[in-house]
């Protein structure tokens, strides 16, 4: 991708939306790209809807405004679809990627802007089966890479290995890697 990509993450406090946004930005570092990752600033409350943002660009990023027109919205919690407008500011050819057991066509019916491209992946289920916890954030990274081609899946996997390697034991690392790979394969749109 030649130009800057802007991504908005929707989640609930405690689901790891901020961590996911940061993880993606750090993975971009391995691609020698420039990036910004920042949460919607405010009191972070467990369970409350929250947003985080990632910008990725081949060139240094100088803008410090909010992300208001992202190309991609990622929804970590399926119950947010319909309760908040996850398509707000998205262009008609924008992408909405949802962690959900529902197929994309069903999700699209609940969106304000139904022209956007919708993808879904059951990241919570994948996370339960691979990591053993219903935390969908790293899993969604695999799906995101599939639908956007932001980077090669192998590079993302390598980044997950190195960044988790500092803090976690081998089974946690392997689980996360497996989650990323499965989401990459299983995302549908």
């Amino acid at each position: 991708m030649g130009k800057m990509v802007e991504i908005r993450w929707h989640g609930r406090g405690g689901q790891g939306a901020v961590t996911a946004a940061k993880l993606l930005a750090e993975a971009a570092l391995g691609q020698n790209k420039y990036f910004q990752a920042f949460p919607e600033y405010g009191p972070e409350r467990m369970g409350a809807p929250i947003q985080a943002f990632t910008r990725i660009s081949p060139e240094p990023i100088e803008i410090h405004s909010n992300v208001t027109n992202p190309e991609i919205a990622i929804v970590l919690d399926p119950t947010l679809v319909g309760s908040i407008d996850v398509t707000e500011g998205l262009p008609n050819d924008g992408i909405v990627l949802v962690n959900s057991s529902e197929p994309p066509q069903e999700i699209k019916k609940k969106l304000n802007n139904q022209k956007v491209k919708v993808y879904s992946v059951n990241a919570t289920q994948i996370a339960l089966e691979t990591i053993g916890k219903p935390i969908p954030n790293t899993t969604m990274l695999g799906a995101l890479i599939k639908v956007t081609n932001l980077m090669k899946i192998d590079d993302a996997v390598e980044h997950v290995r190195s960044s988790f390697g500092k803090k976690f034991n081998q089974s946690v690392i392997d689980g996360n890697v497996k989650a990323v790979e499965r989401a990459y394969d299983e995302v549908s749109g």
């Binding site: 930005a25 570092l29 410090h64």
Partner: protein, 394 residues
């Protein structure tokens, strides 16, 4: 060899503090500065630094402890934000008048109320007369770089003044971006050892610190000295900025000029908004509009003459203030820039904008509006509004 990393602005500054390895840090956490204190306290706990970390019960105590430690002869750093800086207020003046080279981050956050944790510059503008050097940073890289330079500026024997490093709360402090860190060894060499000349714990040459001048009345004389010294510090800021450039490839001065050479209209701004404004300047240039930008780094000392020389060829100039000096004629930056141009011949028309208060987002459209207003002034020769607001709901 420098290391490219992904860090928040606060984490970058905590890394700079680790590399500097100050003798004493006394700090109290406050949003959005908290993560600097957290990270640095971790370095202390893990033995990554030799610093004596003083847990204090307030920012007033933090700055008081810094003054005591610095007077005793230690290299001292601290960090704060907003209400914390306000609580330090009376001690800020003590630090500068005692000529103590304390280095402090103030992560810019508005002063309540209504209670607000987001960015604007009202906190540090409230301390602009406190006798501290104030250096504004655009991004995390500049905040990291300036932290390292600040030690050298503060401790320079022709300066001996405290330095405040300023960067935008959340926008810079909490955003992860790509930046380069120097090698630990290079930072250690660059900052060198601190060798105070006169200090409390020098038992061979005892001194009394914090004397009362009421009997003879030489307060006035000391204030004149402080004015001269901070004026002189301009040369040191530039010299250290250049020397740092040789080490890192990133040089610093009193301000940065962006496409000003042939510009007809220009914008002066502090902090992260400069980055956003550079994009707008580029867009304007694409449309053959001669727009330039001046990003002021050194607000104290205020380089009035240098700014005049840099901006005098413009036809119209907009000064953007991210703080409201309630009851004054425009924001603090506007007032000082305009004053710097009073004696100039054919000076540009100067307008001021108050923007971004309480963290209000600054969009490309906002800056575009400023450029268009400036173009209108050049066309018509008339100023519609001397002081205006940007992005307020009207």
């Amino acid at each position: 060899m420098a290391k490219t990393v992904a860090l928040t602005g606060n984490a970058a500054c905590a890394q700079a503090m680790r590399q500097i390895n100050p003798d004493v840090v006394a700090a109290y956490p406050i949003t959005p500065q908290t993560t600097i204190v957290e990270e640095f306290a971790t370095f202390v706990a893990n033995g990554k630094v030799n610093t004596e970390f003083i847990n204090v019960e307030s920012e007033h105590s933090a700055m008081s402890a810094c003054v005591g430690a610095s007077a005793a002869g230690a290299r001292v750093m601290t960090t704060t934000s907003s209400q914390g800086l306000a609580l330090m207020w009376e001690i800020l003046y003590i630090a500068s008048s005692l000529r103590l080279p304390i280095v402090m981050h103030n992560v810019n956050r508005t002063l309540s109320g209504p209670i607000n944790i987001h960015c604007d510059h009202s906190d540090s503008m409230g301390a602009r007369d406190a006798g501290w050097i104030q250096l504004f940073c655009e991004n995390a890289q500049e905040a990291y770089d300036t932290t390292i330079q600040a030690i050298r500026i503060a401790e320079n024997k022709n300066v001996h003044l405290p330095v405040m490093i300023l960067y935008d709360g959340f926008i810079i402090s909490h955003a992860i971006t790509r930046l380069e860190l120097l090698e630990d060894e290079d930072v250690k060499k660059f900052v060198g050892d601190y060798k105070p000349e006169k200090y409390l714990l020098d038992i061979e040459n005892p001194v009394a610190v914090g004397s009362f001048d009421g009997l003879h009345g030489f307060y006035f004389e000391h204030k004149k000295v402080q004015n001269e010294v901070i004026e002189r510090s301009k040369d040191v800021i530039v010299k250290v900025g250049n020397e740092y450039g040789k080490l890192s490839g990133r040089s610093y001065g009193l301000f940065e000029e962006y496409k000003l050479d042939d510009a007809e209209v220009g914008i002066v701004v502090l902090g992260s908004t400069a980055g956003t404004a550079k994009l707008v300047v580029d867009q304007m240039r694409d449309n053959n509009k001669k727009v330039g930008l001046l990003k002021l780094r050194s607000f104290r000392p205020f380089p009035a003459k240098e700014l005049f020389d840099s901006l005098k060829k413009l036809k119209a100039l907009a000064v953007l203030d991210r703080s409201s000096s309630t009851g004054s004629f425009g924001g603090p930056l506007f007032g000082e820039i305009r004053s710097a141009f009073y004696d100039g011949k054919n000076s540009p028309k100067i307008i001021g904008y108050i923007y971004g208060l309480g963290g209000r987002d600054v969009s490309l459209n906002d800056i575009e509006k400023v450029c268009n207003d400036l173009s209108d002034i050049v066309k018509t020769g008339k100023i519609k509004k001397e002081i205006d607001y940007l992005g307020v709901r009207e």
